[in-house]
Symmetry: C2
Subunit: 170 residues, 2 copies
């Protein structure tokens, strides 16, 4: 019965250990084409879901991943993918403003929110941002499968999803 | 019959000469509160609807309004309101990047798209931007009533909505 209700509501179980990442491709630098399929990345990668480009908590959290990128590389991490429900013009402008230029760090636009919804990580941020956005989480994935995931109880908080905290789990 | 279809589709007649502006308030600098009610502005004002913060056409068009702001003021224009279906963090970051700091120029966030939809100026920009956005238009309004409105046939174009073109109609 609950699965029927879930189906009607369109809700999905959130990412958890053992989950496969959604296969929906995401946009990086080209707003006209979604080119990055996170489910097909090889090796160890980090997915960082954030509620909103240019919001103060996200703008304080994300640079930590760029600063620590070499430390992640030493732990055999191939890429760090920041995923936001924003359009690609906005995510790239945000990346530029943050100066997060390390080659390991990618900013991805889930502009229609489909990836985040399929990952069960969507929440209603209408009050502050006008629509549904991504919860704040960080996931360690390997060959498209979630090994560990850390999700903030409150989207504005940056505790378990801070770069230095995630590093300790590698 | 067509009105029934329109009603089912939720479409609204676009702004035209004599239209009243929607009464939905919009956000300016405070993302937590919509404080600007365009329908209640006194005197002559300009509304500039744009498809997307940080997109190249909008980023080339909007600075023209800041550059010409003194010319608009000489024509008794009290304010120029740039309205985008983006959240307020994004519109304010965009304003900062453009350096559009003239006191006449305001950047407003229609973050849930309700104002733009009520104005009949919404279009499906899912392919490039992930959701419905604002057509590109410029409206001369007086005490909340549209006096003239100029809308681009193609949202990426900047022809009739350029600041210098609109100035000539004042």
């Amino acid at each position: 019965m609950s699965s029927i209700i879930q189906s009607v509501l369109g809700s999905v179980s959130p990412l958890t250990k053992g989950s496969k990442l959604p296969t929906t491709p995401l946009k990086e630098t080209n707003p006209e084409q979604a080119t990055v399929n996170l489910s097909q990345l090889h090796g160890k990668n980090i997915i960082v879901g954030v509620p909103g480009a240019f919001t103060p908590p996200c703008s304080s959290q994300v640079p930590g991943y760029a600063r620590h990128a070499d430390d992640f590389a030493k732990k055999d991490v191939k890429g760090i993918y920041v995923v936001a429900v924003n359009d690609a013009f906005t995510t790239q402008a945000w990346k530029e403003k943050l100066g997060a230029n390390h080659q390991l760090v990618h900013f991805l636009a889930d502009d229609n929110g489909e990836w985040t919804k399929a990952a069960g990580m969507s929440f209603d941020a209408s009050g502050l941002l006008g629509n549904h956005r991504s919860k704040r989480y960080a996931a360690i994935v390997e060959n498209g499968e979630v090994k560990e995931v850390f999700t903030e109880d409150q989207a504005p908080e940056v505790t378990v999803t801070a770069a230095d905290k995630v590093l300790k789990h590698l």
